[in-house]
């Protein structure tokens, strides 16, 4: 069932650049072969806290962009919110320091072979993996409408050059400090109806993904969601990051978001199941 990302390797990644952008840090890391292997939706797992750290688990970050530089290796870019101890440590790294990194990990967004009309929906730093995806979709001739939401303006991550590849860009904020006042899900129906969207890609908090799935169901659209569960290992060995997922055989299994995800078919995820095992789950 599981789809181990066979390209994953461990490397010592050097910080090439680390800049504060709004509420986030935009970090560039030199990572050798990982850049060439990365696909939109993949993530990396980074050891945090340094030599005498009390933080024993890796932290997961979506790959924002990857640039393969041939024999010179390559770089990946991350967008990191200084949230807790681990991400604060990471955003405090200076140029030339190195971090221990494993990647690329997890599944990536599926790319349609035909030009289709897509909506890309990102919440907070969840916008990060969508820009690389937008470029690829655009190159395939897809229409790309992007919707980015956050609690307030500073938490929207939308670089200027990121807008190149999108046909439209809608911003929503919970407090109305930028773009539309409200949630991304509220903006979505209108865009779908106006553009006849066929496919939704999303990345953000679970509650947002769940709300998007309801809309996808309503309009009968395919929804590829990048699911963010709390992860201990990122490589599939700990079983902490699971969500109930209906398999192609119809059976619900507690599936690892680090291996069977983070990108999952939203229609198959049993949403809002934190705290309980849905009835009918295999083995439950």
């Amino acid at each position: 069932m599981s789809a181990i990302n066979s390209r994953a390797v461990q490397c010592s990644a050097q910080v090439v650049s680390n800049k504060k952008v709004g509420a986030y840090h935009h970090i560039i890391l030199s990572v050798d072969s990982i850049a060439a292997a990365a696909r939109p939706g993949n993530f990396v797992a980074i050891a945090v806290g340094g030599a005498s750290s009390s933080l024993v688990l890796r932290r997961a970050f979506a790959i924002y962009r990857a640039a393969d530089k041939g024999s010179a290796g390559g770089v990946i870019e991350l967008v990191v919110a200084p949230h807790g101890e681990g991400s604060k440590w990471l955003t405090a790294r200076q140029v030339h320091e190195t971090v221990d990194l494993v990647g690329p990990l997890g599944t990536s967004f599926g790319i349609p072979t035909e030009p289709v009309r897509c909506i890309l929906v990102g919440g907070g730093y969840g916008s990060a993996p969508l820009f690389g995806l937008a470029e690829i979709l655009k190159a395939r001739g897809c229409r790309v409408d992007m919707v980015l939401g956050a609690s307030s303006a500073g938490k929207i991550y939308a670089p200027l050059d990121g807008k190149r590849s999108v046909s439209s860009m809608t911003i929503t904020t919970d407090d109305g400090s930028a773009g539309m006042h409200g949630r991304v899900s509220e903006a979505l129906s209108q865009i779908i109806e106006e553009n006849g969207s066929e496919l939704i890609y999303s990345c953000g908090p679970m509650a947002m993904l769940e709300a998007i799935q309801e809309i996808a169901d309503k309009y009968n659209l395919v929804h590829q969601a990048s699911v963010e569960e709390s992860m201990a290992c990122g490589i599939g060995v700990c079983m902490t990051c699971v969500v109930p997922l209906r398999g192609s055989d119809g059976v619900i299994r507690m599936s690892r978001t680090c291996i069977d995800g983070p990108v999952m078919d939203g229609a198959n995820v049993i949403w809002n199941s934190r705290g309980s095992i849905p009835e009918g789950t295999w083995g439950a």
Partner: protein, 310 residues
């Protein structure tokens, strides 16, 4: 030439570094980072009779130098395990220690019958640190009588083919007493220690962070407890081989457990922080032992007890 091999009862392993049950997936996930033959053995996650979806999420909370988990023994059940996981591990030429877990004394007997005489299986770890559904969910290894009953049932169903190791919980008043009990019941060796019962409260929701409320504490935080348990049991039962575990993240950590009395070292939580932790530990432990003048790994086992024997 340093001789890194170790003996666990009738089993000889080329080196003493093994994975910890439940911390190495099905083996496939790690084999991406190093060949499984590099391990002394792979210890599989505890398998039960039936498929099990485990506990609800959140299942994990990080703690200072450690973590809590309440995975709840998610797994495919013994049939699928024997059909899928074992053949794949055999195809990799991995040495396998199968971990089994039951909800009743009878479960252990049934599981033991299923894991007899399997090629490449070099040992059975009997995880008796799980709740006994027939006895108000009391953990088997926390009571001498249920600990004994579980092990007796495994022993009766496994001849001398492979050694069996009873895996004990540290959450007891007297771990030596439990160790004696399971050895008398027929365990060839012991696996020390399983996780320590703990809880984290989420200060935002103001409720226990794990859906299951309590979970098992692992990682470097518990290493002093592991070293103590291994040392105490080794002092009381010096002839019984011990698979030691609990917070080993470096060769130095492994050496502590070896000196205390462990003949093999399981690495669990450290793998989550570093997929190649076992390989690093294997190399570092070898260096430390050779620096200290040991020619044979086995001479270091229990070396911290040498005072007593004078």
């Amino acid at each position: 030439m340093f001789n890194y091999s170790t003996s666990l009862g009738s089993t000889v392993l080329p080196n003493p570094i093994v994975t910890a049950s439940g911390c190495a997936g099905s083996g496939k996930e790690l084999s991406q980072f190093f060949p499984l033959t590099e391990l002394g053995a792979i210890v599989t996650k505890s398998i039960m009779l039936k498929p099990r979806s485990g506990r609800a999420t959140p299942r994990m909370a990080e703690t200072p130098s450690g973590m809590l988990n309440s995975i709840g023994l998610q797994g495919p059940g013994i049939d699928s395990f024997l059909e899928n996981d074992i053949p794949w591990l055999q195809s990799q030429s991995a040495r396998i220690i199968v971990s089994i877990a039951g909800e009743s004394v009878e479960d252990y007997a049934s599981l033991a019958r299923r894991v007899r005489n399997i090629p490449n299986v070099v040992g059975i770890e009997v995880n008796i640190s799980c709740p006994n559904v027939e006895n108000r969910g009391m953990v088997f290894s926390c009571q001498p009588d249920t600990a004994r009953a579980a092990i007796e049932n495994v022993r009766r169903n496994i001849g001398g083919e492979v050694p069996i190791f009873a895996k004990l919980s540290p959450d007891v008043t007297d771990i030596v007493a439990i160790a004696r009990e399971v050895v008398n019941a027929g365990a060839d060796g012991l696996a020390l220690i399983n996780t320590v019962l703990g809880m984290v409260i989420d200060v935002n929701t103001m409720r226990p962070k794990l859906a299951q409320k309590t979970g098992g504490l692992s990682g470097p935080a518990i290493r002093p407890i592991a070293v103590r348990a291994i040392y105490q049991v080794r002092a009381a039962l010096p002839k019984i081989p011990i698979i030691g575990m609990g917070g080993v993240a470096s060769g130095k950590d492994a050496l502590e457990l070896v000196l205390a009395g462990a003949s093999a070292i399981s690495v669990g939580t450290a793998t989550f922080g570093n997929p190649t932790a076992v390989m690093k530990i294997k190399q570092e432990l070898e260096s430390l032992l050779t620096e200290r003048g040991f020619d044979n790994f086995v001479d270091a086992v229990g070396f911290a007890h040498r005072m007593e024997s004078l």
